[in-house]
């Protein structure tokens, strides 16, 4: 369409999930818009002109079912278009600490008042923010069409091209966060300042009753894979006695280093990401050692 003419943009504003799903089935090319912070950022055209939006937009902000949080004994279900500030307002005693700290560090207060967890998971520019924390606590994502529902783990949400692997007409509707207790949790955000996207992030959780590791998960964000987890390494740490022997740590780091070679570019930033990822894991294991001693 010629630049000189304002593009016709039709905005749908459904109020129910059922209505949204039916609408999306009929309009598969429509843009799903919730907080829209990243979309709006990329759609700026300057000169006081309207945002560059596609012809059809489905605004999800009024859809009740996507704007709720419900809490059960084992899970917290978070609507995909709930803004980050609202999620954080539940409090750090309810949200898993690793998720609370991660969400608190995303962008700025005003961005968190608009940005949604669903958007943060789906959009490439935001990948490094919440995915590691969600992955390590085994978060599940509900994907629905007008006629189906399925649940996937965070790590399985992306296809080989690292884009959300959604079927036609499918929408991310809920994020199910397990309310498990962990003995130790850490999240680190590296770079990005208070800007939009993190350059690198790390999340790790561990459970170690009686001086040996019962479960340990760690995940690195900001690499080529949206969710970089090495369950092979996690398995090798299972049942390891604490403190983790330095030989085991060195072996794990070597293996991680080999795997990271495919995850970064051969640039200064890539070298930094690779080296820092190793340091983050080492630091995580060292802190577990110290915490396990404190628990004696």
């Amino acid at each position: 369409m010629a630049e000189g003419v304002l593009k016709e943009v039709r905005v749908f504003r459904p109020k129910s999930l059922g209505g949204t799903l039916r609408l999306y089935t009929r309009n598969p090319g429509a843009l799903l818009y919730a907080g829209g912070t990243e979309i709006a950022r990329q759609a700026q055209r300057g000169g006081g002109r309207p945002l560059d939006l596609p012809q059809k937009v489905i605004y999800l902000g009024n859809v009740q079912e996507l704007n709720r949080i419900s809490r059960g004994q084992r899970y917290l279900d978070i609507g995909s278009v709930l803004d980050l500030s609202r999620i954080l307002s539940i409090g750090r005693n309810v949200l898993p600490p690793v998720l609370f700290e991660t969400l608190s560090a995303i962008a700025t207060p005003s961005i968190r008042n608009l940005a949604t967890l669903g958007g943060n998971i789906s959009l490439k520019a935001c990948r490094g923010d919440s995915l590691p924390a969600l992955s390590v606590i085994d978060t599940q994502l509900e994907l629905r069409t007008a006629g189906s529902t399925r649940w996937v783990e965070v790590g399985d949400f992306f296809d080989r091209g690292n884009l959300p692997d959604l079927r036609p007409g499918e929408i991310l509707t809920r994020i199910r966060v397990p309310l498990e207790e962990w003995d130790f949790a850490v999240t680190r955000k590296v770079g990005g300042g208070v800007g939009f996207s993190t350059s690198l992030s790390f999340a790790g959780v561990a459970r170690f009753p009686k001086g040996s590791i019962e479960a340990l998960h760690f995940c690195i964000g900001g690499l080529k894979d949206p969710v970089f987890r090495m369950t092979v390494l996690e398995e090798r740490l299972k049942n390891a006695n604490l403190p983790v022997p330095s030989k085991l740590t060195d072996t794990l780091l070597r293996d991680l280093d080999d795997a990271l070679a495919d995850q970064v570019d051969d640039t200064a930033k890539g070298h930094y990401s690779r080296a820092t990822s190793l340091r983050l894991l080492r630091c995580f294991l060292e802190k577990i050692n110290i915490r396990s001693l404190d628990m004696l």
Binding site: E3, G4, V190, G193, Y272, A275, R279, L280, R282
Partner: protein, 692 residues
């Protein structure tokens, strides 16, 4: 509420947009303008009635490219009209044919490149000294291009009424702008009126760049015969406006068997960009400050501005000075290691002039004061001891700390930005004061209000001298038709020129007050020759001598303490201490606020990624957070002003730019045990140093 350029939208005004080159380097072979709807106008290179190249302070910049394109986003056409959407359509409809050339990607500036300017400076016998040296210490230091990041993007509002042009502009030099627009439109200057709008913290980015956008707006208004508003978007401004140049500086120091300096050889390469200045003040200052604050018996400095395929450069606060001092101070930290002295002791020893026992008193005083305030010597020793015991930096669980000290002076060549070229083009600087009834004073000056608190400074000084209530002192709106030309608004120039003019006017009013009744008017001016003999001399071809003083400098010693996270290698600043010897100071709170803000900005530019020229418009220029630190990064900043009673106030706004980066770099070097030789120092840079 303060009104910035984006807030000025006269009735019936047309919006404007710039059609820019989508490629970096090449030649436009044909440019097909679209058919214009009624009420829309287009201006190309051929439509410029007068001078098509802006010349200012030694810089030259085409208003619109004729056919040769030298940088991404170089302006090619201008459009204006009522609807921005239609303007965008017109830009999209331009048919552009061009032959693109691959720009040369510069890895470093050391050549071979076309040289735009060479400056040589020497005294003593450097070759002999090097041949006798016991040891030679070498270092290479790099600084990046600098983005001004003024909060208000470039913009101008122009209106041609058939007889004269009025331009509202966010500019630091209204009369300079008036001359530039008059030349561009082939009008007598009296037919161009410039109304200066308040500017945000510009770091001297509202000089040359403001002329460009105002010339573009003026051309459109002249063509359309209607008011035209042209304001650049942030992306456009980041991509396309001139930047502070990058530098590459090589130091070689010849030492005797005691580790004392025998000779210094310095090679300075400055990136002149694609339109390199023929007579660069920044290079001049870099050459004259290449050895820092120290006495060197044998010295040879060569400065080269080289033409590159990078975007254009323009004035930047302390440009040339800051980079030279950074290199000199960082290099001196290596010499300190060879001499096995701490930073404070080495500086004291090397400030001494041959034949004298004591270093300049002011320099010693600021050094001693800052080391005491910051507990520098104790911390330096402690951190050095930790560094010696440490094996590697990236395997520890404890933070890494370091502390750095730097010494700098502002004055001589650094007294004000681009003075020589500006002053050579102007005849005089003037100011007028009028004491009205009711003890009200009005100040008439072309000095623009800015983040530096210029107007507040003038108001308080006048109120103090005339013993009137500062609330009754106002500065007349800066309109070139109503105020005299006091010259460009640069803080140290205000101190050196503006304040003396104000003081003279006040004295005249005091005299006239005894016999006269209000209104009482006083007008004073300084000629260029009286103002700065060197400038007049330069205009006549006289060469400056090496190390020639033009007046007492202001000294500053800076200490920066940092802590690095051994996992992420990211630094936080634990504290900054700065002691400045400034002469007599009034309006202290304004000055302290300015210094604190500038220190924070300099810390930001020392450690944040900063600006990198993008290859295409599709890539974002850079994030604002890469340039400006946020409220979450507030170190403890302590500033102590050492006032010399009886001495005039001296310029100081360059001192944070001279002191902070070098002290920060020295602190990081101590914390990491690495030789980090570039700015900015990001975690990625530290990682690179670790791997090499």
């Amino acid at each position: 509420m303060q009104q910035f350029i984006q807030d000025i939208t006269p009735k019936r005004s047309l919006r404007a947009t710039v059609f820019r080159s989508p490629f970096r380097k090449g030649t436009v072979t044909a440019i097909g303008k679209p058919a214009l709807p009624r009420g829309y106008f287009c201006v190309g290179h051929r439509d410029i009635p007068g001078a098509s190249v802006l010349s200012y302070a030694g810089y030259s910049l085409p208003i619109l490219a004729k056919s040769e394109v030298r940088y991404l986003g170089e302006p090619l056409l201008l459009f204006c009209g009522p609807n921005p959407q239609v303007l965008a359509g017109l830009c999209a409809a331009v048919e552009l044919s061009y032959e693109e050339e691959p720009p040369v990607e510069y890895k470093d500036l050391t050549g071979p490149y076309r040289e735009a300017q060479i400056i040589n400076l020497a005294h003593g016998d450097v070759d002999l000294a090097f041949s006798l040296a016991e040891q030679i210490v070498e270092g290479e230091y790099r600084t990046a291009r600098q983005e001004h990041y003024y909060p208000d993007t470039q913009g101008a509002v122009a209106d041609w009424d058939g007889k004269s042009l009025t331009i509202h502009a966010a500019t630091q030099d209204p009369f300079g702008l008036q001359l530039a627009i008059a030349r561009c439109l082939n009008l007598p200057p009296r037919k161009v009126g410039v109304v200066a709008v308040p500017i945000g913290n510009s770091t001297e980015g509202k000089l040359l760049s403001s002329f460009l956008v105002a010339a573009q707006a003026g051309l459109l208004a002249y063509t359309a015969k209607k008011p035209v508003v042209l304001v650049y978007d942030r992306e456009e401004d980041l991509h396309c406006s001139p930047k502070g140049p990058q530098f590459h500086i090589r130091h070689q120091t010849a030492l005797d068997q005691d580790g004392c300096t025998m000779a210094v050889r310095v090679q300075i390469f400055m990136d002149g960009g694609c339109y390199p200045p023929k007579n660069s003040e920044a290079l001049h200052r870099a050459v004259h400050s290449a050895w820092g604050a120290y006495q060197i018996p044998n010295l040879e400095v060569t400065g080269r501005a080289v033409a590159t395929d990078f975007p254009p450069i323009g004035p930047f606060r302390a440009s040339g000075l800051a980079q030279a001092v950074f290199a000199a101070e960082l290099h001196s930290s290596r010499l300190e290691e060879v001499a096995q002295l701490d930073s404070f002791s080495w500086k004291k020893e090397n400030l001494v002039e041959p034949g004298r026992k004591e270093a300049p008193a002011s320099a010693l005083a600021v050094l001693e004061e800052v080391t005491g305030l910051s507990d520098f010597i104790r911390k330096y020793s402690a951190y050095s001891a930790v560094k010696k015991r440490r094996k590697t930096i990236d395997q520890g669980a404890y933070p890494l700390r370091g502390i750095g000290l730097s010494l700098a002076r502002q004055g001589e060549d650094g007294q004000w930005a681009d003075l020589h070229n500006i002053e050579a083009a102007r005849n005089a600087s003037a100011m007028k004061l009028v004491l009205e009834k009711g003890r009200r004073l009005r100040i008439y000056t072309s000095l623009v209000d800015s983040a530096m608190g210029i107007h507040a400074m003038l108001i308080h000084r006048a109120a103090e001298l005339l013993e009137i209530d500062p609330r009754k002192v106002t500065v007349q709106a800066v309109d070139t038709r109503e105020v005299p030309d006091t010259g460009p608004t640069i803080l140290s120039r205000v101190v050196a020129v503006g304040l003396p003019l104000l003081e003279q006017c006040c004295r005249t009013i005091q005299r006239k007050r005894k016999d006269g009744t209000p209104p009482i008017e006083a007008r004073r001016s300084f000629s260029t020759e009286r103002l700065h003999p060197a400038a007049a001399g330069q205009a006549a071809g006289r060469k400056r001598k090496a190390g020639e003083d033009a007046g007492e400098p202001s000294w500053a010693a800076t200490v920066v303490e940092v802590e690095l996270d051994p996992v992420t290698l990211r630094s936080t600043c634990r504290g900054v201490w700065m002691v400045i010897e400034t002469g007599n100071v009034w309006n202290r709170s304004t000055i302290m606020g300015v210094l604190e803000g500038e220190i924070l900005r300099c810390l930001g530019s020392s450690r944040l990624p900063g600006y990198a020229a993008a290859a295409t418009f599709a890539m974002p220029a850079c994030s604002s957070n890469d340039l400006i630190p946020s409220a979450m990064e507030l170190p403890d900043i302590q500033i102590h002003l050492m006032e010399s009673q009886g001495a005039d106030m001296k310029g100081f706004e360059h001192l944070p730019y001279l002191g902070v980066p070098a002290a920060y770099a020295a602190a990081v070097c101590q914390a990491t045990g690495l030789y980090v030789d570039q700015l900015p120092i990001t975690a990625e840079v530290i990682q690179q140093c670790l791997e090499t």
